[in-house]
């Protein structure tokens, strides 16, 4: 109907990514309920259109076409993996749609039609390494960069390697290791890490993806590698992932995020409460008994609220107008800062927190950046990026007619 604004939700509800993405769908639905309860946007109610791209990358593109072309949604919240975003990107650009992407990623991309509400590498990886190098973080001298073999870990590690080098770490003190998708036996890897760590104070930077984390951490526990000996900092492990792990042996290992559930401030308390109530009311499996929030959920939540503000500012859902209105939007984020959309580069300014795993599966924030950090989607540690403009360039990825 004309008196509603359609909002597309493009998160996998089945297949391998369902584990992570399902909850984001619910987060958007919760935010939509909340916005609608307050009267909607410009007096119109939001109408969610949920589709399931089933962890199938081409299907992401197809569903995007459908959402934009058939359902005429004004905005899409969706994607988790980089490849799904890459698959969707040409479609949103061609059809001039709007995508909010809520997950930390490797950068090296900037599209006019996408707003990145997750962290760029400099908003997560680099501060984490800084911390581990500091005295308080243990003063690591040797590094194991451990990841699942795909683009995000590869890129992040590439950036980190360059960064470490710039800090004087020798190549022999960096060990880069990859495992296949869905790898579930980490005995050898952990043994190798253990061996590597005999050569000096070692820290592990883990970009292990999704399901492989549980076996990895279980094996860490098995091998008796304690956080105080070899701390592991992970970029993909949050509250939700720890739900499936026996955290006792993991106490003290680290994660770097822009939000933790355990952060104490009124906004977050309210956010958690909203989510708990919503999960209970909707009977969301898992969360109705043990509600958890995490970084991508926060990023999603910020995204949809900023979009709402931008639409209201632009007084239209027209993509170009909304994009223009998004610049500089601010929103009081559950992480405790006043989150700001960069005027130019479509990324949020974010504070970085380092948390240590506690026995109850939550995180102790042991360190944070003094203030929000501006995203650098084009990492200066990658050759050739220095000259890149810090904003989407018109026509760059648009079809040359």
């Amino acid at each position: 109907a004309e008196d509603t604004i359609k909002v597309g939700i493009l998160h996998s509800l089945s297949g391998t990514m369902a584990i992570s993405e399902t909850v984001l769908k619910d987060t958007v639905l919760m935010a939509i309920d909340e916005i609608n309860a307050k009267g909607g946007v410009m007096g119109k109610k939001l109408e969610p259109v949920v589709v399931d791209p089933a962890s199938n990358w081409p299907l992401f593109a197809e569903k995007t076409k459908q959402l934009l072309g058939q359902d005429k949604v004004s905005v899409i919240f969706g994607c988790w993996t980089s490849v799904s975003r890459k698959s969707v990107l040409p479609v949103v650009e061609e059809m001039n749609g709007l995508l909010f992407y809520p997950v930390q990623y490797e950068g090296e991309e900037l599209s006019k039609n996408v707003f990145y509400t997750g962290a760029a590498p400099n908003q997560q990886a680099i501060p984490a390494v800084d911390y581990l190098m500091s005295k308080a973080g243990g003063g690591a001298k040797r590094w194991v960069l451990l990841g699942t073999d795909y683009v995000y870990p590869r890129t992040t590690n590439k950036i980190l390697r360059a960064y470490l080098k710039s800090k004087g770490v020798a190549d022999k003190d960096i060990d880069e290791k990859y495992t296949p998708f869905g790898h579930s036996d980490y005995q050898t890897i952990v043994a190798d890490v253990k061996k590597f760590s005999q050569g000096g104070k070692t820290a592990v930077v883990s970009t292990i993806n999704g399901d492989s984390n549980v076996p990895f951490y279980k094996e860490l526990g098995n091998a008796g590698l304690k956080a105080k000996d070899v701390p592991v900092v992970a970029f993909s492990v949050g509250e939700e992932e720890l739900r499936g792990v026996d955290t006792k042996p993991l106490v003290g290992h680290l994660a770097a995020w822009n939000y933790f559930m355990s952060i104490k401030n009124p906004t977050n308390t309210e956010f958690i409460k909203k989510w708990s109530d919503y999960a209970k009311a909707k009977g969301i499996a898992g969360h109705k008994d043990k509600p958890l929030t995490n970084d991508p959920m926060e990023a999603t939540y910020i995204g949809i609220n900023m979009w709402k503000q931008a639409v209201e500012k632009a007084k239209s859902t027209d993509t170009d107008k909304v994009i223009a209105a998004m610049a500089g939007q601010t929103f009081k984020a559950p992480s405790g800062i006043l989150s700001k959309m960069d005027e130019k580069n479509h990324h949020l300014h974010k504070s970085v927190f380092i948390g240590e795993i506690k026995a109850d599966g939550q995180f102790n924030v042991v360190w944070k950046t003094p203030g929000p950090v501006k995203a650098k989607p084009w990492s200066p540690y990658i050759e050739g990026n220095a000259s890149k403009p810090d904003e989407p360039v018109k026509g760059m990825s648009v079809v040359k007619k």
């Binding site: 509800l13 089933a54 299907l59 593109a61 490849v83 040409p90 479609v91 795909y150 890129t155």
Partner: protein
């Protein structure tokens, strides 16, 4: 026909007429066969029946004329307008239908279940994808002549396997050659070692799994997990235009119809019957003087090439190719389309591909949280109640109606 040595026939004919008087005691003499002297031999059937041909022509018209008109000339918003989305969807499903057809040849007719056809599909797709990547030229993120991911991985020049990727003609050849050669080598060794049944299925699965992991690696030079996306041009013509899309759609449709006729001819020939004989009793085939290796290898390569072509048509239409296409589950799905439609019937797998994928597309939107139940139930239902697939059901109904 003249045979160089006397046959049973010759020996009989030679003595014809000399002495036909019965010498066996009367009661022991065999009576003349119950049928009249002439035995009715079944003739060679036409490629398609009359109604078959009319259906074929209708399909041809729909693909080449109706669809383009409805999409390009009927204005958007009109009830008859065929949306771009629908074109893309149908185009994609037609590619899948080619795969299902290919699967039917190897599985339905030859009894060789391949759980690795995704590899050939992906190889065709990647070959096309490489060409499309090169067509981006210097319009990528990094303004380099190299594809973005290579720039980013610090590659200074194209690796050897990209050598021919800038030539469209070479690409067309490679689309056929690459899956063909891979299939040939793999098939040659496997069939020569007489690997059969599940053992063959499992090594095809191992093959696709290994290929997937290989392509996942960034070092392999195919863009790792992200694969290829963001295509811009094909033959220097922008790819994201309605007319280009329609062209690809029509080409896919024609390919599908062409392959269908080809397959029909193939299985109608004696070649096809040897395949079925191999499926039923391979030893007997050997003792009849056929070497199964050649037959299996031929159909295997044909099937792989068909999949490769499907992959090549698929990539520009969906806009992405990545190693996920080689995941074992994808290959199993191909078999499932064939089974749902009805194996060993050629039209069945095509119908199956449309039903399964159509249902998937619809259900993932209509019931995003429950669609797997429906799909799962569909598969179970088909096996339990339609042992010969959907097409089997139609045949049965039609038979029933005739009686």
């Amino acid at each position: 026909m003249s045979t160089p040595f006397p046959t049973i026939n010759d020996s009989l004919l030679a003595e014809q007429g000399t002495d036909l008087a019965p010498k066996v005691p009367a009661q022991a003499r065999p009576p003349a066969p119950s049928s009249p002297g002439r035995v009715e031999l079944p003739g060679k059937g036409p490629l398609l029946t009359r109604s078959g041909w009319s259906a074929f022509v209708i399909a041809l018209i729909v693909v080449c004329a109706v669809a383009p008109v409805l999409n390009l000339w009927v204005p958007e918003g009109h009830a008859l307008h065929l949306s771009t989305y629908a074109v893309a969807l149908l185009g994609k499903i037609m590619c899948y239908a080619i795969c299902a057809l290919a699967m039917d040849l190897i599985w339905g007719y030859t009894g060789i279940l391949s759980l690795g056809h995704g590899v050939f599909f992906a190889l065709g797709g990647y070959t096309m994808g490489m060409y499309l990547m090169r067509q981006i030229g210097a319009d990528g993120n990094y303004k380099s002549n190299l594809p973005d991911f290579m720039v980013f991985l610090d590659w200074k020049e194209l690796p050897w396997h990209w050598t021919f990727s800038d030539s469209f003609v070479a690409t067309l050849i490679l689309i056929v050659a690459v899956p063909g050669i891979v299939a040939f080598v793999f098939g040659y060794f496997a069939f020569r070692s007489r690997i059969k049944g599940v053992y063959f299925s499992i090594i095809t699965q191992a093959m696709t799994f290994a290929a997937m992991l290989l392509f996942f690696r960034n070092e392999t030079g195919f863009g790792g997990n992200n694969g290829f996306t963001d295509f811009k041009r094909i033959l220097d013509i922008p790819i994201a235009t309605p007319s280009m899309r329609m062209t690809l759609f029509v080409m896919t449709g024609l390919t599908l119809l062409g392959f269908f006729l080809f397959a029909k001819w193939l299985v109608g020939s004696k070649f096809g019957r040897v395949l079925q004989a191999i499926r039923d009793a391979e030893t007997r085939v050997m003792f009849s003087g056929y070497s199964p290796l050649g037959y299996k290898l031929t159909i295997w390569v044909i099937s792989a090439v068909m999949c490769g072509v499907a992959g090549a048509l698929y990539v520009p239409q969906v806009g992405i190719i990545n190693p996920g296409e080689m995941s074992p589950a994808n290959s199993i799905e191909i078999a499932i389309w064939a089974a749902v439609g009805g194996r060993a019937s050629l039209i069945g797998p095509i119908v199956g591909a449309f039903i399964v994928n159509g249902a998937k597309s619809w259900l993932t939107v209509a019931y995003p949280e429950f669609w797997l139940y429906f799909l799962g139930a569909l598969f179970i239902g088909v096996t339990l109640f339609l042992p010969n697939g959907v097409v089997g059901l139609v045949k049965k109904l039609r038979k029933g109606a005739e009686q």
